[in-house]
């Protein structure tokens, strides 16, 4: 794989929410071509295999609800703050239209879904972002929902598991979106000081203001294979330093190598790993 093909599928970092590569598979198509190995896969097979390519292990992107289904016990998810809707608070041109199209495309009101659920009977707060809504960018509603999810967990003595996917802060909300980095970090800190467990699972791509806040603040940081994890995206860096980036730069595996990810984990073993970690931290099954 040459450098260009490595960078190419992953350079839509800065809120370019019209990304067409590595998009979540579309259920009404029968076949999907794996963007890594080119194998044609039956959508039903992918579904059964946690949206992972059976040939090369490529992890397809999944939406926030699908993600919750993959790790939660059946019918245990209860959503928090489901009615929060983003508004064009600083009157940014084109933002209203963008919100509308994102709502239509994703079926969500914002880029994050929060709630409580059980994992092997253990109650936990779950935070699940989606790339379908403005590339998972963090606006005030996103930040507020995440903050409130942590506050709920702190009040109720629950652990938090967060699945991140984000192009960063949402520039259409200006400085107010930047402030959400501090706000969510403050909520993580209070949760942490209460002695409660926070696990983050970084998925493709996690970058910018989300990487520089709650994504990197977990007690345990897991990441999906091949996921791009960055502060500044590869395109921005190449433009800044005007040199080519090393192979596999900013992948989950690279970050584990550099000491910023605890474990790269295959999605098919994710639920059992989360369950083990919860048990090791003395969380027990509730009826």
């Amino acid at each position: 794989m040459d450098l260009f093909t490595f960078i190419k599928p992953k350079n839509e970092l800065e809120q370019g929410d019209d990304t067409t590569v590595n998009k979540p598979y579309v259920p009404d198509e029968m076949w999907v071509k794996c963007p890594d190995c080119g194998t044609l896969l039956l959508t039903t097979d992918i579904e059964e295999n946690f949206h992972v390519c059976s040939k090369c292990n490529h992890h397809f992107r999944v939406g926030s609800r699908k993600r919750i289904d993959m790790v939660c016990d059946k019918d245990t998810f209860k959503e928090l703050d489901a009615d929060f809707v983003s508004k064009n608070i600083i009157d940014f041109p084109g933002y209203d239209e963008k919100l509308e199209s994102s709502k239509r495309r994703s079926g969500e009101k914002d880029s994050v879904v929060c709630g409580t659920c059980k994992i092997d009977g253990i109650e936990t707060v779950i935070i699940s972002m989606t790339a379908d809504f403005m590339m998972g960018s963090m606006g005030t509603v996103t930040g507020d929902k995440i903050t409130r999810a942590f506050e709920y967990a702190t009040e109720n003595g629950l652990p938090v598991i967060a699945f991140t996917v984000s192009g960063g802060a949402r520039m259409q909300e200006g400085i107010l979106s930047l402030m959400q980095m501090a706000k969510t970090s403050g909520a993580v800190k209070l949760h942490s000081d209460a002695g409660l467990l926070y696990i983050t699972v970084l998925t493709d791509p996690t970058s910018g203001g989300v990487t520089a806040s709650f994504a990197m603040e977990g007690d345990i940081i897991l990441a999906e294979p091949g996921a791009l994890i960055a502060f500044a995206g590869p395109r921005v860096i190449e433009q800044t330093i005007r040199q080519k980036l090393p192979k596999d730069f900013q992948t989950a595996e690279f970050l584990q190598e550099k000491g910023f990810v605890d474990k790269v984990i295959d999605r098919r073993y994710l639920k059992e790993t989360l369950s083990k970690l919860l048990k090791i931290h003395n969380y027990t099954e509730v009826q």
Binding site: D81, I175, L178, Q180, S185, A230, F231, A232
Partner: protein, 259 residues
């Protein structure tokens, strides 16, 4: 003055830098302390201790440099992870001795490069945000020029944030915003308007507490009144318990964008 003129003024190399302010406010009492105790001493961040009138203070600033040679050495105020980690080390030290912390912000952003990513730029900023929120000592951040995104807020989780009248603070540079949204970086002036990044905009949005008149080099009278203002704020906050300060600081950010 248009928002973009304001951006250009904030970037002007004629502008006073953090070291100018530190020297004018702290005089001979300032002692610089170097390094993050882990990797290196990042010269884009200056930090140390000194006396502000009769108050011992920890002061930290993003430093762009005052001439070409200095600007190269200081990487134009674009810090690496070790810079943010040095800042946090000094802040923790300040907390230990219950010294107030004064931060000067002036950066186009955290550095974007291979080393910065390899050493965890995102992790360094995230850690500062989380730890600063809980510091049990007073913190005041003053924006003196450019306040570029994550690299700026990493020194601005404070009890109060003040801005010089010509400083800016934004989630993204207007050029970056224009090129991503409209694929045309020449529309930066339009983007600057839309982003609401001037001191006045931020004051109206409830993100900062105070706008300061900008001192000119050598105008010691203006620095004296600035010093008085800072001292009064620190005295007020030193009378509050550390736990209460941290609680108020969280609430300060908690209400921004609250649904």
């Amino acid at each position: 003055m248009s928002a973009y003129d304001n951006v250009l003024a904030a970037r002007s190399t004629k502008k006073l830098t953090s070291l100018d302010y530190i020297n004018a406010l702290f005089g001979d009492s300032f002692i610089e302390l170097h390094g993050d105790r882990n990797f290196a001493d990042d010269k884009a961040v200056v930090g140390g201790v000194g006396m502000l009138n009769d108050i011992p203070v920890t002061v930290i600033g993003l430093e762009k440099g005052r001439n070409t040679k200095e600007r190269m050495e200081r990487n134009f105020g674009a810090a690496h992870p070790e810079g943010y980690r040095k800042a946090l080390r000094l802040m923790k030290q300040a907390e230990k001795f219950h010294r107030p912390i004064l931060c000067f912000v002036d950066t186009s952003g955290a550095f974007c490069g291979i080393g910065a990513e390899e050493r965890g730029q995102g992790h360094a900023i995230a850690t500062n945000l989380m730890e600063m929120m809980a510091l049990k000592t007073p913190i005041l951040s003053v924006f003196i020029g450019e306040g570029g995104s994550g690299g700026a807020i990493a020194l601005a989780v404070a009890d109060e944030v003040w801005m010089m009248e010509n400083a800016v603070y934004s989630v993204i540079s207007p050029e970056g915003c224009a090129s991503i949204l409209w694929k045309d970086s020449s529309k930066a002036a339009e983007a600057a308007e839309c982003l609401k990044m001037t001191a006045k905009d931020l004051f109206n949005l409830g993100v900062i507490e105070r706008i300061l008149r900008e001192p000119t080099a050598g105008d010691q009278k203006m620095f004296e009144s600035m010093k008085l203002l800072i001292c009064r704020t620190f005295e007020k906050n030193l009378a509050v318990s550390g736990e209460e300060l941290a609680r108020l600081r969280y609430n300060r950010f908690r209400k921004i964008g609250q649904q």
